[in-house]
């Protein structure tokens, strides 16, 4: 589904990713862990097409196509979903409108008609229960005045409705208390399926107690320096990042 080969990318003029390789198959859940400044968020930004980054070398293939060649909205319509580390507040645009506009963009991209209003409402109400959110959130401006936990839940709600093929979770656990973390994790787990992959970026092992990954990778200084199964996360937690950084050197 996703193949990243020898990816080098700069943020502005600063090289951040320095030869990253990663392959994700359908249905797999990959966790990327790493110390601050390793390039975790840069990876999610480059994959989703955020402006401000330059890919200097390497390539990213998504479903057989060059992902980096696509505009951000096309990537999203093709099924790449980024759950933001810092979801943006959009005053004046209601949550439900954004959900509907996003879903219809995907349907149009797929050559389908716009979603029926009643079907849409049923779908949204069904998914919002899953995230244990109040219906009033639908009619509030996107993320405006939401707490940290509400924003993260809202990101997962969007994913639940848009049904992406590749879901990138950028530090979705940061800033969450344990109850909010459990709700978010349940939401993510309910989305797991054979044709949907996840790339979870996190600094802490805690999230992986609730969402068990198939693979864990350690990112340090712009490269994956170690890969393994879920047990790697525990080992990291116990030994600290210096352990892998030391190994890489």
């Amino acid at each position: 589904m996703l193949k990243i080969e020898n990816l080098h990318a700069n943020a502005g003029d600063t090289p951040i990713l320095k030869g990253l390789n990663l392959e994700i198959n359908s249905g797999e859940v990959h966790a990327i862990m790493g110390p601050n400044g390793a390039g975790k968020s840069t990876l999610s930004h480059v994959l989703s097409g955020k402006p401000g980054y330059t890919v200097t070398e390497g390539k990213v293939t998504y479903q057989g196509n060059d992902l980096l060649d696509l505009d951000p909205e096309i990537r999203a319509r093709e099924g790449v979903f980024l759950a933001f580390q810092y979801p943006v507040e959009i005053p004046g645009v209601s949550n439900i409108y954004l959900l509907k506009a996003a879903l219809n963009s995907i349907r149009k991209h797929q050559g389908l008609d716009e979603v029926d209003a009643m079907d849409f409402l049923t779908l949204v109400k069904d998914k919002i229960k899953l995230l244990q959110m109040d219906q009033k959130f639908l009619y509030r401006a996107v993320n405006e005045g939401f707490s940290g936990g509400e924003k993260k839940r809202n990101e997962i709600l969007q994913a639940a409705i848009l049904e992406p093929k590749l879901c990138i979770l950028d530090e979705t656990d940061s800033g969450l208390d344990i109850d909010a973390l459990k709700i978010v994790a349940e939401g993510v787990n309910s989305l797991r399926s054979a044709d949907r992959s996840f790339l979870m970026i996190t600094h802490y092992q805690r999230l992986l107690d609730y969402i068990t990954p198939d693979f864990v990778h350690v990112l340090a200084d712009g490269k994956i320096v170690k890969s393994g199964g879920p047990e790697l996360a525990l080992e990291l937690e116990a030994k600290g990042y210096q352990w892998v950084e030391g190994q890489a050197a």
Partner: protein, 436 residues
């Protein structure tokens, strides 16, 4: 500089309402003296430094002192009548009874033309006229006091909750016209009312110089809306001066969309524990110049003021915001927040913003913030990451920025009219109305 206006005044002074009332005659004379001595405001005055009114000075706009509204074609302003409201129409600065619709007005509420109010009860008018703003405020106020040809007097008695909004529809039907209006709104204790001031006019140049004095008594609540959609070449001066008594509440929704050059003054004096909420939206296109001047005077303790003015400026337009929050020594526990946010849509558009705080009390909470900028890239990217293309994202964000102010209006009919005007001014904003 002003002699041509003064010469005109002398010719028509006898036709102004209330000339037989001694105190009013004296007031008008003082005002004229003030105006002739000071002339129109100049860029040298701090409060006019961004707004050049010399074009008004060079022209001569003439008042219409004889009512000649019978043949007025009302088709062009009928669209602006608010459904379900009591509507009072002023044409070219004169009350037009035949165009007004006051059916269903409760008997204890007074809605009178200023001419009639002065004729019927000059002593009552004396209690209010020139009491919320003095002729020394600046020359347009003096000009207005000297020359007002009519206006409205509204009195809501104590404890009356008026269910229908009252609309003042100011219409200018002729080019070169001078429409000088003085309105007085009195909302007595515990009364509540919604009032809408709508300004519309022809496409030729004309001048509106309107002053509205507002008195909100103890525990009363007034929500005043101003929908300024003057013609493209119009000059507009509109001042609203408010006195709020103890616990009085005043909400203002100020939409400045029209005119070539528009200046809006919004001042309020807050007594103990009173509250004001000032909202403004100014939209500039082409070469429009829109100046907003607000002043909130916290004179007594525990009052709360909230202010948010937003500007969307396109093409070569220019928006000005000068906001003053004054806190007197006695006004402890003042809670005030002032914000001005400007969105520039073109490289040639300009926003000048100057928030000011003058605080003489020591136990107060006064916040202020200003932004001038373009759409935020992170917001555009967020929408793109949610499948929306960049152009649509920009349109959505622009519209949403402005619509936030329209959305605050609680009168459904008015909100729809505002929305129409908003979309008309930004046709590139292809917003799906279905979700609104």
């Amino acid at each position: 500089m002003t002699s041509h206006y003064i010469a005109e005044y002398e010719k028509t002074a006898d036709l102004l309402p209330g000339q037989s009332i001694a105190w009013l005659k004296a007031l008008r004379a003082d005002a004229l003296t003030h105006f002739s001595e000071n002339g129109f405001p100049s860029l040298r005055e701090e409060e006019w430094r961004y707004t050049n009114v010399s074009a008004i000075e060079k022209k001569l706009f003439l008042p219409q002192l004889t009512a000649q509204t019978a043949e007025t074609d009302d088709a062009f302003f009928n669209d602006y009548r608010l459904e379900g409201a009591l509507t009072v129409v002023l044409i070219n600065g004169r009350y037009s009874k035949q165009h007004s619709s006051l059916e269903g007005l409760d008997e204890d509420i007074s809605v009178l033309s200023m001419t009639d109010a002065l004729a019927q009860n000059p002593d009552l008018i004396e209690q209010y006229l020139s009491k919320a703003v003095s002729i020394e405020e600046h020359s347009f106020v003096a000009f207005n006091a000297a020359w007002f040809s009519d206006g409205l007097f509204i009195h809501i008695p104590a404890k009356k909750v008026v269910d229908k909004p009252i609309q003042l529809l100011h219409v200018v039907t002729q080019g070169d016209c001078l429409s000088t209006i003085r309105n007085i709104l009195v909302v007595d204790e515990m009364a509540e009312v919604n009032v809408i001031e709508t300004f519309v006019g022809v496409d030729n140049a004309y001048l509106t110089a309107s002053v509205t004095e507002v008195f909100v008594a103890q525990n009363a609540c007034l929500t005043l809306h101003k929908m300024q959609i003057e013609g493209d070449k119009a000059y507009h001066f509109g001042g609203t001066y408010v006195k709020q008594a103890r616990n009085a509440r005043f909400n203002h929704h100020n939409f400045a969309f029209g005119g070539l050059l528009a200046r809006n003054d919004m001042h309020t004096d807050l007594d103990t524990a009173s509250e004001c909420d000032l909202n403004g939206l100014y939209l500039g296109i082409k070469r429009q110049h829109i100046d907003n001047h607000t002043r909130i005077n916290h004179l007594k303790p525990h009052a709360i003021s909230r202010e948010l003015y937003k500007g969307v400026l396109n093409q070569r337009s220019r928006g000005v915001f000068q906001g003053m929050v004054y806190v007197a020594e006695d006004a402890q526990k003042t809670d005030s927040a002032m914000n001005n946010r400007n969105l520039l849509l073109s490289n040639d558009a300009e926003a000048d913003t100057k928030p000011q705080l003058e605080i003489y009390a020591d136990d107060v909470k006064c916040a202020h913030g200003v932004t001038v900028g373009q759409l935020e890239e992170k917001s555009i990217f967020y929408l793109q990451a949610r499948c929306i293309d960049e152009e649509t994202a920009r349109n959505m964000l622009t519209f949403a920025f402005a619509n936030e102010m329209v959305d605050k209006v609680k009168l459904d009919g008015l909100r729809e009219k505002l929305l129409e005007q908003l979309l008309k001014r930004f046709p590139q904003v292809s917003v799906d109305k279905a979700w609104l």
